[in-house]
């Protein structure tokens, strides 16, 4: 109980808030220097940041415990602070079960997968099934991953400290190629690769979207870095993309997409319009018009953001509860009293 009292004290709350403030000030400064994805990977999406938020949750939970059994005067206090607990839970729910990605659909075309903010390295011989090496985005720098390419096999086997060795057959021998991957951050995602065919080491920096062919004496190897792809339970066809400009300029005033959504299981079609600020809700997913590509050669394309955020309702309810409680706390007669310090 002594510990609960300590953790539930205002002093603890103040310290935990001040430390969070300093932490966030540092992280926004880092963001300005090193880019958004740097801080996302190094701060906001790390486990220790989650643990820190959990600490805040425990702190507020204890402030409630300390006041038990509740009296009438505690009502507004409880409403406010339960709201904060709910808000943090909603955030947890979203980060655990939430999905976010984007899809680019050309006019007249359709897509049923989305790209997510993770990267994968594709390695293959020409006309062979490719090996996909997923790059964990929580880790800024991956431990060196070795992959050996065996020209005799149909697939590229992989060995690494993390990967399951049983899954890929390791084929040692003279005729093998070693691939080392080093993940680097340089504005956008990039990897440094080193390919060793036993005679020569080929070094190359691969950026997101790049594809390169390396001519080893055992044959050509194609390497590509792209964002990870995730299947969706529906397919989205872009019928038409419309962009309306402010008259006499090329500044867009609005843009919208006419789409047809097809459910893969039920095979049901529905015609919809998605525009800026008017997303489409479909089976737990929200599809947003986030951008567009206008290209005379390949036709227009829409960029959609696809998101599944299960915690949002809880976050909304909690926020309303926080403000209701805070309002009552600040503007009821008792709390309006002047303080004697």
């Amino acid at each position: 109980m002594w510990l609960v009292r300590k953790i539930g004290s205002v002093t603890f709350t103040v310290w935990i808030s001040v430390i969070l403030m300093i932490l966030l000030i540092v992280s926004t400064t880092l963001e300005s220097l090193h880019g958004t994805s740097f801080v996302q990977r190094r701060v906001y999406q790390t486990h220790w940041f989650d643990i820190y938020l959990a600490l805040i949750w425990i702190n507020i939970f204890c402030t409630l415990i300390v006041r038990f059994p509740f009296k009438k005067k505690h009502i507004s206090f409880i409403i406010t602070h339960i709201g904060i607990l709910g808000l943090l839970l909603g955030a947890l729910l979203t980060s655990m079960y939430g999905l976010e990605g984007w899809m680019i659909v050309h006019a007249g075309d359709s897509a049923d997968t989305m790209n997510i903010d993770d990267y994968q390295l594709k390695a293959s011989y020409p006309d062979r099934p490719a090996l996909m090496i997923g790059l964990d985005k929580r880790q800024y720098r991956l431990p060196v991953t070795d992959a050996r390419f065996d020209p005799e096999k149909k697939f590229c086997p992989l060995v690494s400290a993390k990967a399951n060795i049983d899954q890929y057959r390791f084929a040692p021998g003279e005729k093998s190629v070693t691939l080392s991957v080093n993940y680097v951050q340089e504005g956008n995602a990039a990897v440094d690769i080193a390919l060793n065919d036993g005679r020569k080491i080929f070094k190359h920096r691969l950026r997101e979207g790049d594809e390169t062919t390396i001519h080893t004496y055992l044959g050509d190897i194609i390497l590509a870095l792209s964002s990870k792809v995730r299947p969706l339970p529906f397919s989205l066809a872009l019928k038409n993309f419309k962009k309306i400009d402010y008259p006499g300029t090329d500044k867009p005033a609005s843009f919208e997409s006419e789409v047809v959504v097809t459910d893969k299981r039920e095979n049901a079609e529905s015609h919809q319009t998605i525009s800026m600020n008017r997303p489409l809700d479909y089976k737990g997913y929200r599809i947003f018009q986030s951008s567009y590509i206008q290209d005379a050669a390949n036709g227009d394309a829409s960029v959609f953001t696809v998101a599944k955020k299960p915690g949002t309702t809880l976050i909304y309810l909690s926020s309303v509860s926080i403000f209701l409680g805070a309002f009552c706390q600040f503007y009821t007669k008792k709390n309006g009293k002047e303080h004697d310090v």
Binding site: V14, S27, G187, N188, F330
Partner: protein, 533 residues
């Protein structure tokens, strides 16, 4: 009696200022030129407004050698190549001048003087853009180069006549064209106008321009015509400049404390607030949207909330110093807004900001909280200053600190609700409620900062001195959220509000604040026991 004085004050002040308006034009010709409709940056404007905005972008002012912008630009339309030699482009940044090999002691440069360094400039601007594309921050030099590059482009377009979209289109909703590209008789007619004016044939010019305005009005909807007129009024009355002058008068009159002067002070303050509101209303009417899109608008609105909350709390609490502190803070913010070389024109919105009422509520609430925190900051300065001089007794200090605390509570709720509304908007537009975007993160930092103050005060852990000191420190966080994220960090999704400029003034404020805090802390703690409540 008080009412009579205030009313007289308002009438005198308003009357005196409105008299100025008709004298703004030297001649019929000038009057007519300013009315010619033109399409500029996606909106129909009057030639007057177009000229002011263009000259402001180039030279940072709205007159050229005492000649109004509209006359200056119109005069050169017939022979635009003369503009090549006129040192129109303002360039203050020393490192950039140095980099381009331009003399450091001059402020204004002509197109021809800048032309040799165009390659250099393009390279700098391109590398800045490249960095933006790669999600990195351009250097100060690159940002200045980008700005200068845009000035050059504008001047270039003005000289070749691409900016001059004055010829009405054939069909509705189409873009207006320039006299160069339009093949219809109207283009020839417009060229005739410019030649007449350049040749000084005033009678003929006045006659033909009158006709031109009547002719083009057929292509405009009644709503557009009304908007153009309102915008002319908006630019001519300079509502915000009048407002801060009146606030300054009010502040001086109120501080003296004499009964008669105080009444004038009330009157001036009310007149200032009327001008301020008028300016805001005109902006809303012209643009058919609330003032939410750029730094200038948010500063003016923040200030308006600051004054309105000062007046409301004054009416409830009946303490004059609310008005004094509010008026002084407003004067400073508005002078700053006036001085700042930021985008102040009435621009069109990017799609994500259009027609969304969550956004409107979000920005208005958040900026309101800045206004309330601004008032706290002003009151905090007053309290600390008086207490450092020993001119405030314990009872008064307690009252003042309590007032600040109550205002902070109101501000915290406004900031919290505003940020939450922003989250709803983000969820509607980008698909997530919270994403640790710098603006969001800084709003949270500010919120946490003021929450700490509220928690400490509510549990009697913060004395009167510290409440006032925290109102100052808290406002530094507000400043970072509001200005710093957009202008210093320059990162994240709130990119439509990015820019640079005015940094030196913010720095002045920071240095002043530092000295002020050191001063009051020394006064408070160097002689223990004397000033402690």
């Amino acid at each position: 009696m008080k009412k009579i004085f205030s009313t007289i004050g308002i009438i005198l002040l308003m009357g005196g200022l409105l008299c100025k308006v008709p004298c703004a034009f030297a001649s019929d010709a000038a009057q007519l030129i300013s009315q010619i409709p033109i399409q500029h940056e996606g909106r129909m404007k009057s030639f007057d407004v177009f000229a002011r905005e263009t000259l402001r972008q180039l030279a940072g002012k709205e007159t050229w050698q005492k000649e109004p912008a509209s006359l200056f630009i119109f005069k050169h339309l017939a022979h635009p190549r003369e503009l090549l030699q006129i040192p129109l482009v303002r360039l203050d940044n020393l490192p950039l001048k140095d980099h381009l090999g331009l003399p450091a002691d001059r402020k204004y440069f002509s197109y021809m003087e800048l032309k040799p360094s165009l390659n250099e400039l393009t390279a700098l601007a391109a590398s800045g853009q490249k960095k933006r594309d790669d999600d990195l921050k351009p250097t100060q030099l690159e940002q200045k180069a980008e700005f200068l590059y845009k000035q050059m482009v504008t001047l270039d377009k003005l000289i070749v006549g691409e900016l001059l979209q004055v010829i009405p289109p054939d069909g509705k909703g189409r873009a207006w064209s320039t006299p160069k590209e339009a093949a219809n008789p109207l283009a020839a007619q417009f060229r005739q106008l410019t030649t007449l004016y350049a040749a000084g044939q005033e009678t003929e010019f006045v006659h033909q321009t009158g006709q031109w305005i009547k002719e083009t009005a057929r292509y405009l909807s009644p709503h557009t015509i009304k908007t153009i007129r309102l915008e002319n009024v908006y630019y001519r009355i300079k509502a915000f400049r009048m407002a801060w002058i009146l606030y300054l008068i009010a502040f001086i009159a109120l501080v003296t404390g004499r009964p008669l002067l105080r009444k004038i002070g009330y009157g001036a303050l009310a007149a200032g607030l009327i001008y301020h509101s008028l300016g805001l209303i005109l902006r809303c009417l012209i643009l058919s949207r609330p003032p939410v899109s750029n730094m200038f608008e948010s500063m003016i609105f923040m200030n308006w909330i600051l004054m309105v909350s000062a007046v409301i709390y004054f009416l409830v609490k009946k303490v004059d110093y609310l008005l004094e502190a509010g008026a002084l803070a407003s004067v400073l913010v508005m002078i700053y807004a006036d001085l700042l070389p930021i985008e102040r024109s009435l621009g069109v919105l990017v799609p994500v900001l259009r027609s969304n009422y969550w956004l409107t509520l979000h920005v208005l609430t958040v900026v309101s909280s800045y206004g309330i925190f601004g008032l706290c900051m002003a009151l905090g300065h007053r309290q600390l200053f008086l207490s450092a001089l020993g001119r405030i007794d314990a009872q008064q200090e307690k009252l003042s600190a309590h007032l600040i605390y109550r205002l902070i509570q109101a501000g915290v709720i406004a900031l919290g609700v505003g940020t939450f509304l922003g989250g709803i908007w983000a969820n509607e537009s980008w698909g997530r409620f919270w994403g640790w975007d710098p603006k969001e993160t800084w709003a949270l930092i500010t919120f946490l900062g003021y929450m700490v103050v509220v928690h400490l005060r509510a549990t009697n852990k913060l004395n009167n001195f510290w409440v006032a000191a925290c109102s100052l420190l808290g406002f530094l966080l507000v400043l970072m959220t509001w200005y710093g994220v957009n202008f210093l960090l320059g990162k994240g999704l709130h990119s439509y509000g990015f820019g640079s400029g005015g940094t030196q003034w913010v720095l002045c404020y920071l240095i002043f604040e530092l000295f002020f805090l050191v001063f009051v802390f020394i006064k408070k703690y160097a002689k223990p026991g004397i000033y402690r409540a």
